[in-house]
């Protein structure tokens, strides 16, 4: 079931994640939590890879898969992808809090908010992107680890990287709306 997106959503704009640049500041988390629909919960998550040996952090945001596993396994049809490819947070009136989506997502994105018995995930700041603004996290990210813009812009800005949105999970290939920046020439990321 596709939602009818607002007319002002710009389909040329894409989301890019560049882990190399992440400084672990958590501005993205703080900004995401500002959204009133999130009830102060952040839908983006920053983690240390191995703090004992490095200050490298990673950032996990919903990848907005072309064929979203979370939506596919939802028994209540609460998760929907719209015609712009945005996979929306569970519809509150439908979500039964079963956590199927939490287990199905290959990127570990949806979270079950225990208090609300509800699955919540990033919906690409639909309130902002649908009116032509950029998502909050990508706007504030001080390092450019998160970027929202056109493919052309990012190619110009990051001549040594290529955006990749094909992920290989064993035999399964997942295409996503969100890109990760990889060394020049990369076309896919093999996850395991």
């Amino acid at each position: 079931m596709a939602l009818e997106p607002e007319k002002n959503f710009n389909p040329d704009m894409e989301f890019f994640v560049d882990m190399q640049r992440c400084i672990g500041c958590r501005a993205c988390e703080a900004a995401c939590a500002e959204c009133e629909t999130n009830g102060q919960e952040t839908m983006i998550h920053v983690n240390y890879v191995d703090r004992a040996h490095s200050v490298q952090t990673t950032v996990q945001v919903c990848m907005h898969c072309e064929d979203p596993a979370c939506a596919n396994v939802c028994p209540a049809d609460a998760i929907a992808k719209d015609s712009n490819g945005v996979v929306h947070s569970a519809n509150t009136s439908r979500c039964i809090g079963c956590s199927n989506c939490v287990m199905a997502c290959p990127f570990g994105v949806p979270k079950k908010m225990e208090a609300a018995e509800l699955m919540m995930k990033c919906n690409l700041c639909y309130d902002r992107t649908s009116v032509g603004k950029k998502p909050m996290c990508a706007t504030v990210c001080p390092s450019g680890a998160l970027f929202y813009g056109t493919r052309e812009e990012i190619r110009k800005m990051r001549p040594n990287s290529d955006p990749v949105n094909t992920f290989q999970f064993g035999a399964q290939t997942v295409h996503t709306k969100v890109n990760v920046m990889m060394p020049k020439g990369s076309t896919a990321l093999r996850v395991h």
């Binding site: 958590r26 998550h45 004992a52 504030v140 001080p142 390092s143």
Partner: protein, 738 residues
């Protein structure tokens, strides 16, 4: 004055810090604010542009300000949640007065003002004018910095006024003045993006100035090579082409060896050195014994790495030198700064596109705050208080007789020592929390307990203000109009979004009324902040820090104006020294010998480990503001002791074991965080917390002889493991759940 009127726990119950996660009235008004006010972040020296959302005269949220050219909407987490302070439950909404055994009680302004003024008069008539001192801060706007300096000299008539930039910027400032005759970063940040080599010395840029990181990453996309000098592998050091893990306190040995290498291998710009500098011969002869091997022994950096750094620096065509507190907060901070400048001058890479030398100001208005005269040795326009010409000019601007202008007073730490000795009896402070931010703070606490009268102007009851007799409820950054000057020298406009809440007052209004009651109201007859700014422009006219051509209108129109800007039709100066005319007496840039010497407290058998301090991204300075913001506390809830596994093993310290850290000044306990990202001989503690968690109980109050900056960055400590494993912090719980 005696101890606290009541227990610390009761004060905290009444005045916080409590944590705010959301606006008091919920997120109402978030989506449909009455207005959006363009202004700047109230924290670090980047002064990111931001828009505040206002609903019913309360700041209810923020919206990125995409058009502001420096940060284009980007913010760090502090900037994102700073808006929660305006309506914070801990806000002081009226003046309060100390009541023995009960704590602090609200009083009206009349009582606060008349009691303060009568105490000032009593103390000054009994002990002399200089026995009443003032401490100020550089989170204040330019207007307030200017007004405070004038207030101290004209209304209080005291020489003893100093500011918290003494803990932050003064070594860089002193070095800049010696070498160039002007104290400002040489370039706008825009130049950084195209430099071939960037060398960052003692600056955890990613955590302390996060929005600057974007420029560094962009420079790297453009092919820049990055050299980082730091005892810790910080997020910016993690990605460096060359990381130099310097032993704390030995930076000048590194810079000396690099300079010697440049000379020996003739990686010099002879044309620049010959025509535009002086002091070269004397300086290079001071480093001729500084071999790479010698420097390796002192700094702990492999000689090959030092050679590589000198090669990278020496052979580049364009370069940027950046430094911050890591090399400045030393008893030889000025020498460290001069060591960096010598490398810049030797290669002549200044006053040209993509070549620069920038010191990064830590505090929001660290740059502007050091220009307008609330330093003990300085008058507006960075003029010298001991220079007769300078005194005469400022006296004329102020409409006073030069003879009535006090002379040079004591610097911040010395001033507190004078209180401790009983020489200073009264104190007024604004926007300074010395009990957390000064070194050796057990001495600071004892000093505060000796004051006969202490009045603080602040918006929260910070740890120092708890010792006050009266606290006047002042205003936040978003409640008062003014200007600030960013680390790149850009003067920006701070716009009031809302009036101060309750009975709180704008700081300028408080100072103005005090001045009137002290009998000099005519000297402070400003109608608004623009009046103050216009006087400041005149006061700075013709100085090394010329603001005369800057107006409020011009700032707003141009997204800020870079000083110097001497005339109204002048566009401002983003890049200094393009004309190679330096402001030193001989018009040349000066090399200065900066030989290596030991830190004040070398390690020994009893105190065998180096202790260094610094910041984390979620907190700001003494934490008065940021420790009240829940989300920031959650991401780093308590100060941790960073320690290398080999040192931890030597003492049998386990992960999160509580370790007693002892120095000759005090002791405190911190959970250990065992990481390979720090030198094996050094431990690190962030300093943003007060009381039992305060790192500054341990640090040493030895000062740089020129700048009077304390040596926060190195002292000797010993570690005693307690065998107790700290419960998981909120932070590690949060990580586990993810």
């Amino acid at each position: 004055m005696a101890k606290l009127p009541i227990t610390v726990d009761k004060i905290i119950e009444d005045f916080g810090p409590h944590e705010a996660y959301a606006p008091k009235q919920g997120f109402q008004g978030h989506a449909e604010p009455d207005k959006l006010v363009k202004t700047h972040c109230c924290f670090c020296g980047m002064q990111c542009g931001i828009q505040l959302k206002v609903k019913d005269d309360v700041v209810v949220g923020f919206e990125p300000w995409m058009e502001f050219p420096f940060n284009e909407g980007r913010m760090c987490p502090k900037g994102v949640v700073r808006y929660l302070q305006n309506n914070h439950p801990d806000r002081l909404l009226s003046p309060i007065e100390r009541v023995e055994g009960e704590g602090f009680k609200p009083i009206d302004w009349e009582t606060a003002m008349s009691r303060t003024v009568s105490e000032i008069k009593r103390i000054q008539s009994t002990y002399g004018n200089d026995a009443f001192a003032m401490l100020s801060g550089v989170s204040l706007t330019n207007e307030l910095s200017y007004m405070v300096g004038k207030f101290a000299r004209v209304a209080l008539k005291t020489a003893n006024i100093d500011y918290n930039g003494r803990l932050c910027m003064v070594s860089a400032g002193a070095g800049n003045k010696k070498a160039f005759g002007r104290d400002r970063a040489s370039n706008s940040w825009a130049d950084l993006k195209h430099a071939e080599v960037i060398m960052i010395c003692g600056s955890n840029v990613s955590e302390t100035f996060p929005t600057l990181i974007h420029y560094i990453w962009e420079a790297r996309d453009n092919g820049a090579k990055l050299i980082v000098v730091d005892p810790r592998i910080t997020p910016v050091a993690r990605t460096a082409d060359l990381y130099l893990p310097v032993r704390p306190g030995t930076d000048s040995a590194l810079f000396g060896a690099m300079l010697n290498y440049l000379v020996e291998n003739d990686l010099l710009d002879h044309d620049f050195i010959d025509n535009y500098t002086s002091g070269f011969e004397e300086t290079i002869s001071s480093v001729k014994d500084h071999t790479l091997e010698w420097a390796e022994g002192i700094t702990g950096i492999p000689a090959a790495s030092i050679r590589q750094a000198a090669e990278m620096w020496g052979r580049a065509k364009t370069s940027f030198m950046l430094h911050a507190r890591g090399i400045e907060q030393h008893s030889k901070g000025v020498d460290n700064v001069l060591g960096c400048i010598n490398l810049v001058l030797a290669t002549g890479r200044i006053g040209k596109p993509y070549c620069g030398y920038n010191t990064i100001t830590g505090q929001g208005n660290g740059q502007g705050g050091r220009e307008h005269g609330h330093k003990c040795d300085q008058l507006p326009g960075n003029r010298d208080i001991t220079n007769p010409e300078h005194r005469k000019y400022i006296a004329s601007v102020w409409g006073i007789d030069e003879k009535d202008m006090p002379g040079k007073g004591l610097s911040a730490y010395e001033l507190v020592e004078a209180i401790h000795r009983g020489e200073i009896k009264g104190l007024i402070s604004i926007c300074f929390n010395p009990i957390v931010s000064l070194p050796n703070n057990n001495m600071v606490r004892e000093a505060l307990e000796k004051l006969e009268f202490y009045v603080a102007i602040d918006f929260f009851l910070n740890e120092t203000a708890r010792h006050a007799n009266i606290v006047m409820a002042g205003a936040l950054h978003e409640e008062e109009e003014g200007t600030g000057t960013t680390a790149e020298g850009r003067v920006v406009k701070i716009n009031a979004a809302v009036p101060p809440p309750g009975d709180a007052r704008a700081d300028a209004a408080i100072l103005k009324e005090l001045a009137a009651r002290l009998g000099v109201g005519d000297k402070f007859a400003y109608r608004n902040s623009e009046d103050i700014f216009n006087e400041l422009r005149v006061a700075s006219k013709g100085s090394s820090v010329d603001y005369y051509g800057i107006t409020y209108e011009k700032i707003e129109k141009n997204f800020g104006v870079f000083w110097p800007c001497p005339t109204l039709d002048h566009p401002g100066t983003p890049r200094l020294w393009e004309d190679k005319k330096f402001l030193t007496p001989d018009g040349k840039a000066h090399f200065n010998p900066a030989p290596y010497r030991l830190s004040a407290e070398p390690v020994d058998a009893e105190y065998p480990i180096l202790l260094t301090t610094g910041r984390v991204v979620s907190q700001y300075l003494s934490g008065t503001q940021t420790r009240r913001l829940g989300r920031l506390n959650d991401s780093y809830p308590e100060p941790l002791l960073e320690i290398h596994p080999s040192l931890a093993q030597q003492y049998g310290i386990k992960e999160r074991e509580i370790v007693k850290v002892m120095t000759r000044r005090g002791e405190a306990e911190f959970p250990a965080q065992i990481v390979t990202t720090i030198r094996q001989d050094t431990v690190f503690i962030p300093y943003h917390w007060g009381g039992r968690k305060s790192a500054n109980q341990l640090t040493i109050g030895v000062l740089d002889p020129t700048s009077k900056m304390p040596e926060f960055k190195v002292c000797a400590c010993k570690l005693v493991p307690t065998g107790v494993i700290a419960p998981p912090s909120k932070e590690s719980l949060a990580y586990q759940s993810r």
